[in-house]
């Protein structure tokens, strides 16, 4: 669990503009000058008296209804399940669906949508919207931090109502109630905060050409695996060679920029062509083995292999390659966490433990510290 240092107010600013200062003073002055019935919102005193009388009359009815309102259970321990008790793994299908969860949250999926549960513990609930549209009503006050991956972006919530729509060229997040954080490499500052009534659409730039099928060779494992460059201080445990299989280059195809290959890979992944996306990313790494974008490409490849291709061992290699490329600190933190995840899913328990402990040491108050600490405790 992350730690906040009191006084927490040190992190906060006062949002009071001059208009508000004038507004408030006008009300104060009016009252001081004898206008006893002036209230900013325009509700006179007699109105409140009437409301109070009405309140006394209705309180009995309201209290009765309130006492009998179903109170949602907030599951404190263990993973989320469906309200009926069934485990959560894959939701959605040809028909629209609505699932009530054990903590009182609800997930509604449109027809043809699919939501895959990636991680489900007493502290976190991570899912991926593979296609379509999902509406989420997350129980406020619950112990879990919800994360929804939707291809181009990630939505983080703590008790709110919102929807995520995954289209061919865009992902749209709309918030009905509460606050969400949307993270994506394609938005300004890589994170955006949305409140009730706000909507964010993240689109792929349409101006960049997509690589055609003939320009990208299918991923092939070469007999001679290339050795990883010397691992930096943020890399995985010593002695582990982070080697990635080489991709056979297609003759006659000119070198593309990293941005084009990255964008192309995202587009292919959205269309469900995971192997094509993988090939595009591997080509980016081959053609641009070093540079400011290398770490990002390796990280994207790792995510693809872990979340979409179901190949955690290869994903672990990709995350190690990312760390070896000395990424910016935010990306390094995520890459180390994902490395531990990938190693765990690949059955490499010693590797996963070492990565988790390394994360614990480097990022004691990091974004994933709570999950890492919990995971290490359970082992």
């Amino acid at each position: 669990m992350n730690k906040l240092q009191a006084p927490i107010g040190r992190h906060l600013a006062e949002r009071v503009d001059e208009n508000a200062v004038q507004r408030i003073w006008s009300g104060v002055r009016a009252r001081r000058q004898g206008s006893l019935f002036v209230r900013r919102r325009g509700v006179p005193v007699w109105g409140w008296a009437l409301l109070a009388s009405l309140a006394l009359l209705l309180l009995g009815i309201g209290g009765f209804r309130y006492a009998h309102a179903p109170s949602p259970r907030v599951e404190a321990n263990g993973p989320l399940t469906l309200r009926a008790g069934a485990a959560l793994s894959l939701l959605g299908g040809a028909r629209a669906s609505s699932d009530d969860l054990s903590d009182g949250s609800t997930i509604r999926l449109d027809a043809g949508s699919q939501l895959e549960v990636l991680e489900n513990t007493s502290k976190t609930f991570v899912s991926a919207l593979r296609r379509g549209r999902g509406s989420f009503s997350v129980q406020p006050g619950g112990p879990r931090r919800w994360t929804i991956e939707a291809g181009l972006l990630t939505v983080e919530v703590v008790g709110t109502r919102f929807s995520v729509t995954r289209r061919e060229t865009a992902v749209v997040v709309a918030v009905e109630h509460g606050v969400v954080l949307v993270r994506s490499e394609l938005i300004t500052d890589h994170v955006q905060r949305l409140t009730a009534g706000q909507e964010l659409s993240v689109q792929l730039p349409s101006s960049l050409p997509l690589p055609g099928p003939s320009a990208v060779a299918p991923a092939e494992r070469s007999d001679s695996t290339e050795k990883a460059p010397e691992l930096g201080p943020n890399a995985g445990p010593p002695g582990v060679a982070a080697s990635l299989p080489a991709v056979a280059s297609t003759p006659g195809v000119g070198e593309s920029s990293v941005e084009e290959l990255l964008t192309g890979a995202n587009e292919l992944r959205k269309r469900g062509d995971v192997r094509g996306a993988e090939a595009s990313l591997r080509r980016a790494l081959n053609e641009h083995p070093s540079g400011p974008q290398t770490a990002l490409v390796a990280f994207t490849l790792g995510k693809l292999l872990l979340d979409s291709a179901g190949r955690p061992a290869d994903a672990a290699l990709a995350f190690q390659r990312c760390l070896a490329a000395a990424p910016p600190s935010a990306l390094a933190e995520d890459a180390l966490f994902r490395l531990a995840q990938a190693q765990s899913r690949a059955g490499d328990a010693p590797g996963a433990s070492a990565s988790a402990r390394r994360y614990q040491g480097l990022y004691p108050s990091g974004r994933h510290a709570a999950d890492v600490n919990q995971w290490l405790l359970e082992r």
Partner: protein, 217 residues
């Protein structure tokens, strides 16, 4: 010879030396920037200019406190307006002019309590249309890290489930950083009651967010 030297908030007169005499510094309060004590005295005498000066000096802090406790910009402005009106109307009850700021904040916290009670009544009647547009995360400074912002989001959600008196006491302690005796004074209750309220809130908040104790025990 007299030399005027302007410093922030005060004017320093330097008496020029006469034959053999050493210079003497005399600090005077500038009429353009009176202290709270001076303003309080003048408000007590009915000086309306002093009322506005006092208001402008403290409005940001009062609104800011109300914003943090209520999470709602409209309600915060309401509370600030009510607090200043009450303060000016009951100025004669203020015993110690030197503690005028603390007294004003105490009135503001009292208004916040009332606002929460009113909201609860409206909610029971299904008439509450307020929108909490200022959660703590929205008030975060621009240079706040994403990790802290996320924790503020979690804290917001946890505090929503805490009863209002407990939430106010907890926030005065851990958000405003006040010593326990000042929290009790602002909440107009005993130290034992404040400790109990803070413990109640901490039982809920502590499950989701870890907050280090303020270092002024």
């Amino acid at each position: 010879m007299l030399t005027l030297v302007a410093t922030s908030g005060s004017v320093v007169f330097t008496a020029g030396p006469r034959s053999g005499a050493t210079s003497e510094l005399i600090h005077l309060e500038s009429p353009f920037d009176p202290s709270d004590l001076e303003l309080a005295r003048r408000i007590g005498r009915g000086d309306r200019w002093a009322e506005e000066a006092f208001y402008r000096r403290h409005v940001q802090q009062v609104v800011g406190l109300a914003q943090r406790l209520l999470g709602n910009s409209w309600d915060a402005e309401d509370v600030a307006q009510e607090a200043f009106i009450t303060a000016f109307e009951s100025w004669s009850q203020l015993r110690d002019y030197e503690r005028v700021r603390a007294w004003l904040m105490q009135i503001a916290v009292h208004k916040v309590h009332r606002k929460f009670r009113r909201r609860r009544l409206l909610r029971l009647l299904g008439l509450d249309r307020s929108v909490d547009d200022l959660p703590l995360e929205a008030l975060a400074r621009d240079d706040t890290s994403l990790e802290v912002r996320t924790e503020l989001l979690v804290l917001d959600a946890a505090l929503k489930t805490v009863p209002a008196p407990c939430k106010i006491a907890w926030m005065l302690r851990y958000v405003e950083g006040l010593p326990l005796d000042e929290v009790a004074e602002r909440c107009e209750c005993s130290l034992a009651t404040v400790k109990r309220r803070i413990a109640t809130a901490q039982q809920v908040v502590g499950r989701q967010v870890e907050v280090a104790e303020p270092g002024d025990e």
